[in-house]
Every structure is written in structure tokens, then in C-alpha cells.
Symmetry: C3
Subunit: 472 residues, 3 copies
Amino acid sequence: MRGAMAPTALTLDPDRLLPADPGTREIARELFAQVEHLPIVSPHGHVPAEWLADDEPFADPTNLLLSPDHYVTRLLHASGVDLAAVGVGGSDVDARAAWRVFCERWPVFAGTASAGWLEHVFAEVFGIAEAPSAGTADALFDALSAALATDAFRPRALFDRFRIAALATTDDPLDALDGHRRLAEDPSFHGRVLPTFRPDRYLDPAAPAFTDDVARLADAQGRPVDDFRGYLESLAERRAHFIARGAVSADHGVPDAYTTALDEVDAASLYRRAVRGELSSAEARELRGHMLVEMARMSIDDGLVMTLHPGVLRGHNTATHETFGPDSGHDIPVAAEFTRNLRPLLERFGLVKDFHLVLFTIDETAYSREIAPLAGFYPSVFIGAPWWFLDAPDAIGRFRSAVTETAGFSRGSGFIDDTRAFLSIPARHDVARRCDAGFLARYVAEGRITRERAREIIVDITDRQPREVFKL
Amino acid sequence: MRGAMAPTALTLDPDRLLPADPGTREIARELFAQVEHLPIVSPHGHVPAEWLADDEPFADPTNLLLSPDHYVTRLLHASGVDLAAVGVGGSDVDARAAWRVFCERWPVFAGTASAGWLEHVFAEVFGIAEAPSAGTADALFDALSAALATDAFRPRALFDRFRIAALATTDDPLDALDGHRRLAEDPSFHGRVLPTFRPDRYLDPAAPAFTDDVARLADAQGRPVDDFRGYLESLAERRAHFIARGAVSADHGVPDAYTTALDEVDAASLYRRAVRGELSSAEARELRGHMLVEMARMSIDDGLVMTLHPGVLRGHNTATHETFGPDSGHDIPVAAEFTRNLRPLLERFGLVKDFHLVLFTIDETAYSREIAPLAGFYPSVFIGAPWWFLDAPDAIGRFRSAVTETAGFSRGSGFIDDTRAFLSIPARHDVARRCDAGFLARYVAEGRITRERAREIIVDITDRQPREVFKL
Amino acid sequence: MRGAMAPTALTLDPDRLLPADPGTREIARELFAQVEHLPIVSPHGHVPAEWLADDEPFADPTNLLLSPDHYVTRLLHASGVDLAAVGVGGSDVDARAAWRVFCERWPVFAGTASAGWLEHVFAEVFGIAEAPSAGTADALFDALSAALATDAFRPRALFDRFRIAALATTDDPLDALDGHRRLAEDPSFHGRVLPTFRPDRYLDPAAPAFTDDVARLADAQGRPVDDFRGYLESLAERRAHFIARGAVSADHGVPDAYTTALDEVDAASLYRRAVRGELSSAEARELRGHMLVEMARMSIDDGLVMTLHPGVLRGHNTATHETFGPDSGHDIPVAAEFTRNLRPLLERFGLVKDFHLVLFTIDETAYSREIAPLAGFYPSVFIGAPWWFLDAPDAIGRFRSAVTETAGFSRGSGFIDDTRAFLSIPARHDVARRCDAGFLARYVAEGRITRERAREIIVDITDRQPREVFKL
């Protein structure tokens, strides 16, 4: 077991993630070179706009890179680390001590997507040359801290350095979007940062604070809560507010993709009972399914792209949830179904011009079976890039293999980094570009597409596709 | 984006679809050479027998290659083309204008199975040297039209040129099979063209015209409709009619693989109520499940191979369905289950000698989990070749990988092209042979089978297997 | 078809199962060399302890290698062989005649996991140089028989030769474990052989002999059957008996992973009615689900590792089951669900220190979707190695690809051979080590982990991991 504790050099292989076969790698290398330095289009993610609006230096490595990254803290937790020891959920922790815990456990990340992203962050963003370990923890903490204190590591400087052409945040419908306003009004900031309307908690009567949330919504918009039409109007008004602040999409994270189109009287009746907390779980699902259809209707009215992320059981462990809050690493996927669930929505709106519905899944089985076939027929449906646990090199390869033969390259969403880990944004897009280059190179090597066509495709899916699908 | 509009040379790589690794490719090349020129055995497909019986020249490229190919028109539709603009469902369209639409959109097919088939058709069947594009559309249309007007492109000439040893059509039970009769009686035609009994609409009380269809069946066979035994006898008689015309199999396209064995009194009672349109959807499923068991029983009596294609939600979009009819590109897969669903059928007939049941799926998850295990035990069960969306190089590779370690190579059905696209039949079998050669070559390169054994296997699965499984 | 009958040389490629790409293979070769000769840790399997306790010579090739191996007999059966003809289920059969049947059908195994294991057994364990065939059957039978009659092929000699560091058996809770006792008390035997507590039949009211089995259990422990607390105490006592004989784990083969935590009054009431055979199938599932939670509670009390193997429909064919008994080749997988099913159990015990729950699946879709995410959060959950139909080279590769990016290498169980085929144990571990070497080599070749780290990982997952996860 020598070496597990020994510091090892941290170097990024310039050919990393490209196929091992030399002939294919040579093609992949050329394709990757077409897009390696293209600007980053990030139409869905979780970086707070305030970071850019305030442009304050980041506090320390732990609070920036460790505590909020539930990909990282969850695997530490699995290896026996208390989530409190790495500052999850706002736990009070000594930043340096937490960082040591992480560095000591660095070997558990070998082979994971997170390891690849973090190595990129350390080596490329910070210029660090040693891998994390018990022996390097303090030096690494110091080096990162020192860098973070410099102007070059302030949020806006990194935003520029990362060549981010557009960055979407994810926001509560009642958010005043002050960060976005300040950025828009700041003549010294030239980047594009846009909010995303994320209304889940206001649409699902089974959500823990639904009755409070809809009451706050009604109140904010000056309406009585107990009126379904008013509820819909309030939602539409909040969407308009988001659009005024630059939003191009509304994001829906739902337990499943169930949709249904109730008649208005029934929907209104369910809603009124939901406001009083009277719905059974089956009825709550009905209203939630209906509200997705209403959201699609609003998307057609106001043009917001609709993105759908179903199939996660959030808060799998109640004790962890109560102590550390949501997004603390125990959201676990379940099987997803799109064909039957989305039919009511697509019957109504699937053929409407300029309606864009992007389908994400963490259940890979849906790619070849449901999502590619749907996107290969409905002009409104786009194949969401691999998401969450699937946002990793092998999974990206499986994704491309699963969808391409049915739907080609033109029906994708473009890459989505979906991250709050601001410093890893270049790493994530780099991974996606390398994987796409490798996939295309194999198709070239197998005589399935010409090298010239592959060069066009990789630029197209990297740059044009996310702009067009997200109406940027 | 230069090049997207530029005409590019269309050339087929002689090594296309073979593995990129040079050592593995060399083995694959030799294995492919064993079968490249073997005759085509096509035991399941949709080419109309009348084409061969009439032997008239094909009308034009659009009506032959574009409008009826729902793989192609669906992706055009997804890219924003009106199905009417490419002549779907008998839409009245200018053939040349439709062809231009297709050629302009050719880039959306890059990487799809359809692109590979069409390139083969253009390059190999027609000898065309330029890829479709806006700039080449008219010249391509003219070149194809000119070729189609020649005797060499009449159906029978192509049938011979393609070296088709046997070609199965798919037919309604009440079809008089005149095309088949005329071919059989024509001393100048020496090919083997055989019908396939496809009784879905007569077996599923939930099918849209069930009551009319069973009435027509009863009428055709001179029986009252309201008699279950008579209904079974009518079906058996129609099967006998098909067998007399050369049929070797009965094909069943069902929403799911559900089977159940009701007692006769219950089945008869359900049937009588089904004839009156009185069944609930649950009851309709019961009767459909029972009728699959009856079909198995008849297969044991009359020897017809039973093929099962479950798991497609047909007509996902009602508006499209009403305007363009069935098979217009919006049939979408759903999850499939075989283990529990087929148990009642296999309990009764799974061990019966000479009963052949071929299981197809578009839900890939069933390959390793259910189909290979079933076919690895029941002598009656065969693993259907990848079908529909899965009939493509990467999917074929995943299929072989999923089933071989459990069931070897001996339990497969042989390749099934399942196509109405007559000119693409050689392309489809060529793809399957290349993919099998590549898969076997990898096993040879990995020391898992000997090169000598691989040479035997590829000939066996290409030529003997479909003949034996389909009792040809 | 020449060659199908011709004897061919049987030689094992020293690079078998390593990736074909020369650069990757060179890395894989070095990694494999790190572990090729490491001792075998086998924490779950089905070899009877009596074989080692008695240390009698094995009877003949058929009874040792053919009749009890349902991987082999099932594929023979599918190819048309009567299970009785190869001695399944104790069928009276001439060993040599049965062996001939197997050798004649040897080609059907090409490409299967079984072929690889058997080739290893023939070539490595016996030093045979010719493949099975009609022509070699008798000579092979004679050569194997002659070897088996020698002392070098007695169970203990093979145990030593195979370098088995620990071998777990699987045993009925009421088993006296005499074989284990005799081995422990035998000063001439130095190996570690340990029982495994397998209580399925006592926990599932839907099991065929449940009422008899719980009556026998109660009787053996001197309690009335009709007392839930007593039933739990009896189970705990039998576990203690196993632990006294060296057991480290309790194994649970269940139709699905359903768990539920009933209150004690309800559980006791269900149990009392179960004892009288009064439960509906839904109620039986409730009690079974509750008993899994009770088993977890006992595991926390007594430290036994809990292994879970859900998702098999056993005895798919009643006729075969009645004639040949269980494990006769017709156990067929079904879809598996872990996220929702295990939540009640994990809510209670998922965070308990030193609780180990190892999840196995034959539904591959659960690897990336559910098992890796669960094991990547809960410190108690480990990813079971590919099992049963998935215990094969391609499937192992898919498994590693599916779980590694989410959970790394540290959350696995280590390899489990799960076999009664004693002579194939080295073959199975050899396959796993080669596949892991190939997988790691690809990650090295793709610049994802360093070669030094890969060397550590392969030793870790081969040797330390199974010892630690199974508390050996």
C-alpha cells in the first residue's frame, strides 16, 4: 500500500479521455482541437449570481471546493466521514481541518468524475503540481488560499478567464433577482448571466411547504391564495419578471415525468383543496401532472424553454436531511418513464413551433428506449445532455452511443454543466468536448461519418446547439 | 459551417463498421469475408409481394426511398419538416420538391442507422459518387430516376442482384395473398417469397377496429361472429391458407408480452362481450393475453414459428395519426417485461418440441436480464435480432455483448431486416454481418474463441441460423 | 461446417480477456501480474464443507463438472438435451454417456462465461490439451477420471493448490454445520472454511414450505411456533450458532428488495397468521419485508454482514421444477428496484457504524441508477460484484463502467464466485482479475488514473476489499 500516502505528481495528460487506439486518438485530437478553446455556453447551472455581482474573493478552499460539492462530500461520507466534519449544510468547521480530511481520503475518488474535475481545477485553474494527500493537505490548502486572495481569482476575473459566453443560474420564482439586476446595471460587467425559473415547490402539493409557498406566492402578487386562475396568473407574472431579467428557460425537477391535462374545473378544485392540505398523494400527483402541462402552456406563451429533470428520490435519508438539509448527497435516482408520462403534454404541445422541451434523465435506460425516439419525432423535444451521476466520461460515451443511431447529433441540448462548483465549469466542458471528440473519432475510424463532417458536428454541438436549443 | 452545404464525395469505406484497433480489424476483415457474399435470408420484413409479382419499375426516388421510410421522415419531421412535404401517408407532393427537402436536411442523419443504409443504397445499388445536399438534390434525383427506369432496377432484377434466398412479407390474415399466388404460379420467377401471418388487429379487443375486424373474419370464413370456437377455427383456417401460400411464421406486435391462459368458458365469455365492444381495458388485456396463448397452441399444431414484438406505444401523437395514418414515425418504445408476462405461455408450451418462439425487444434492458436467460433454458425460445431503433451498429454490438455470455451464439434468430425499404435490404444485412464480424473478432483478439471457431460461427449465424429458426 | 466435429487444440491465451489495443494491453498485463498469484478470498459460494471435511476423491467428471452446474446444463437443455440425460437433479445417468452428450454440444458454449471457466479447468487444473468434442469425449472423460482418482485432486489438495485463503459455504439455518465443526477440529487442516447463514425459507411466508420450516425452527430451539418474539429469538440463536462456527455473513435471496418496518404488534399478528398459512400474497410480502429489517437489526447486534440478492423468479417452469428440483436452470431474472425498496431499512440502519449491506443485482440497470448512488452515500452499503448471469467478462466491464464514475473503486464488495463448481474457483477469480486489470488499464491509457495508483487499486480490490467488506 505504499504510495497511498505518498504525494504523487499531479499532471494532466494532454490526451486524457481520448480513445486509446492510436489511430482513433489522432482523429480525436484533431476534433478536440476544433473546440478546445471555444467559449463556454452554460445554459443550466447553480452558481449564485451574487458571487459575480459582489465579486468578493472566495473565502477559502473548503467553503469553495469542498463543503458545497455533494458529489465529493457524499463519497467522503460513504467512506466513513461525518458530513459535519467537511462543513456540509453550513456545519461549523475549521476549514483547514476539513480540507485535511478530504486530502487524506483523496484515493477514494480515483476513477470518479469528481476526481477528474478536481484535478483539472487544481492543475489548470491553480497551477498546482501535487495531488492531494495527507502529506500535501496543508501545503495545498495554503497554496489555494493564497491564490484565492488574489484579484485573479475573484469571480469576475475567473468568469473572463474561463471564457464564459453565457451562464444561467437557477432561482426561486419569488427571488427578486437582485444579483442579476445589479449585474445588468453594472457598466463594468460585460458577461451574460441569466436566471432560470425553477418553480417545483410551488407546483407539487406533496412538497413539504407547498401551502406556505403558494401563500407567499399569492401574497407577493397581491392575490388571494385560494384562486386557481390567480395562482396561474401569479406564476405567469413571476415568469415575466424572470424574462425581464434575462431568463430563457424554466426548469422542472419532478419525482417523475407524469403529466395530465385536467379540465379547468377539476384542476381548480384540486388546487383549492391542495391549498388546504387536503389532497391524497394520488391527487397531489394529478395536480402536479396538470401543472406541468400548464407550465408547457406558459412556455408556449412566453417562450421560456422547458427543461425536465425527473426521476430522483430526494432526501433518501431523513436523519441526514434534518441535520444537513437538502442537496446533502442522499438524493438517489429511480427508474424513469417518459413515453406514457409525457404523452398528455406532447399531445397538446409537442408539435407547437418554437416550443422547446429538454428531457434529462439519470436512468440511462430511457436514452435509447424513450428519449431518442421522442426527440427523433417531436420537433419540440430535445435530448438533455447526461446529467448528475451520468455527467462522466464513460456515461457520456454510453449516452452518445444510445441516442445517436436513432436521433443523430442534431437533437441534443448541448452540454449542461448543472453545477454550483464555479471553478470546475471549464473542467466539465473540457470533459464533454473530449468525450464528444472521442465518440466522433470512433465513428470516423469506423467509416460512419467523414472527418470533414465530424469537424462540423463537434463545433455545432459545442457551440451552436446550446445557444439554439436554449434560445440564447 | 462551410461544408454543410458543400457537396462531398460519397464513398463507402471497405472497412466500415469494423473495429478501429488494427489487430482486431484484420481478424474482422477475414471473418466478414466469409459471409460478405452469402445469399440473403430475410425471414421477416414488409416488402409487398405485389412489387415482385407485378415487376413494374419503381415510380421515383421519393416514393421509393423517402416517403415510406418512417426512420427517415421522422427525423426530418423532428428537424422541422412537415410530414406532408415529404409525402408521408399518401400526401400529395411533388416528388422532386420532396427530394430536395430531404437532401437539404441530409446533415441531420449523420451518425444514424438510416444514413448508413442510404449511403449504401446510393453508392452500391446506384453507383452514385456524391452525397445528398442542397446542391446535389436535383442531379441525384435525376440519376436515381434514370436508373429506376431501367430494367436493371425492376424489382425482380434487384431481387436477383441482391442474392435474396428467401423474402418474407407481412400480411393481414384476410389477405388473399394474390401476389404470392401469382409469384408461385409464374414459371419465370424462381425466388422464394413467403407471406407472414400478422393477426394483431383480430386479437386485441382494444384495437381500434376490433369489432369490425372480427366481423369481417367471421364473414370471410362463413361463420357467425359471436362464437369463440368459430373465431378460433377461422383463425386456424386463415393460418392454413397462409401456410398453403408458403408462410413459415406468424408475427405478433403487441403493446406488452402479457399472456394468460383462461379457461375456455371465461375466454369465450370475454370474447362475446368483446365482439359487442363491452370490455374494460383490463378485460381486453386479459383476452389479448389469452389469445397469444391460443396462437402458441396453433403454432404447435400447424408449425408456424411465433415471433413476438412487444413494447411499442403506437400512434403516440393523435393529430399526426389522424392526418398521416399509422407507421408515420411516432411509435415510441416503452419498457418491456418478458419473464413474468410469458410465464403462462411457457409453462404450457415452452418445452414442446419444434415450437419456436422468437422474442424481439426495443427495450435493451431485457436482453441480458430476461431474453438471454429465457433462451438459454427453453429450447423453444430464440433471441430475436436487434429490432427497429436497435437495428444499428452500436446497438447490435450492445446486443451481442448483452446476450452472448449467457446464451452463446446458438440461441439467436439470425438477422431480420424488418423493412419495407427494399433497396436497403443488402445494406442492412451488410451492416449486421460487419457488426457480427467485429464482435467475433474482438472475442478472438481477447482469446475467448479461436479464429477457426469464429469462422464457423459467423457462417452459422448468417446462413444456417435464420433458416433453421424460421424453418425455411 | 468442418471443424465443428474436429478436435481442436485447447490452449489458454496468456493475454486472454485483456484489451486488444496493444498499448492498453501492455498496461493491463502489468496490472494483472500484480494480482495473478494472490490468494483467493471467496466470501460467498456454494461448495459443501463436507467435501473438504471428508476429503474423498471426486466421483467422476460428470458428477463433478456437469450435472450440478446449472449454467452448463441449462444451455444444453436449450439446445435440445433432456436434463435427465446429463444427470440434473439426481437423475440416474451413465456418467460417460452424459459426458459424451456434453462434449458433442461443446460448440454451443462458444463465447459464454461457462466456456471460459471450463477451458481454464481443463487446461490449467487438469493439463488437458484438447477441446471437448464428439471425437475427444471418451479420452477426455478417461483423462479427467484418472486425474480425479489421484491424491492431487482430492478436495484439500486442490484447496491448497488453488491458494484459497478463505472459503464461505451457504447453509440452512438449521444445519448442524458438522462439516465445519470437523474441519475446525481437524489439526491436519489449516484452511479457513466458514458457513453462511441463509434463512430465506424461514422468512418468506410465500415460500412453499414456510409453515413446516418455521415449525422445525421452533422445535429445534425448543419453543412454540406461534410466538413472534420466540421466532426472532430462535433466528438469533441460529445466527449465534453460525457465528460460533465462523460465519461472517448472512445471505438473503429474495424475490425483490422490498423492506418495511412494521410495528411489533402488527408484525407479530402477521406472523401468527402466516404460521397458520392464512396470509394473502400482499401480506406475505409485508412480513417478508419486515423480516429483512429484522435481519438487518440482528446484523447490527451480532455483526454478520448482510448480503442481498434480489430479482430472480425461481422455478419459472413448473414441470422442470417438479421433475428436477430447484436450481435446475430455469431461474429467470426480473427487473430490480433498490432505491424505494430499501429505504425503510436504510432509514433505520443505513448510517449505523460497522453495519455492512452488500447489494447484488442481475438487473444491470440498477448499477448506475441505484446501487452506485446508494453505496456512494451510505457507509453501510457496498456494491456487490457482478452476479450470476453477469459474472462474465463483458458484463464485468459494463459493471465497472456503470459504477466507477459515481462510486470509485472503494465501495465494491470484491469479487464473489458464488459457485458450487469447486474446480472453477480459480478460473472465476482469474477472469475477474483480468477484467479489472483491463478496465484499470483503459483508465490509465485514457489518463484518468496514474499507473502507480492503478497498481494499488488492483491489489486493493482483489485482496483487501473482500476481507474488509466481509469482516474476514
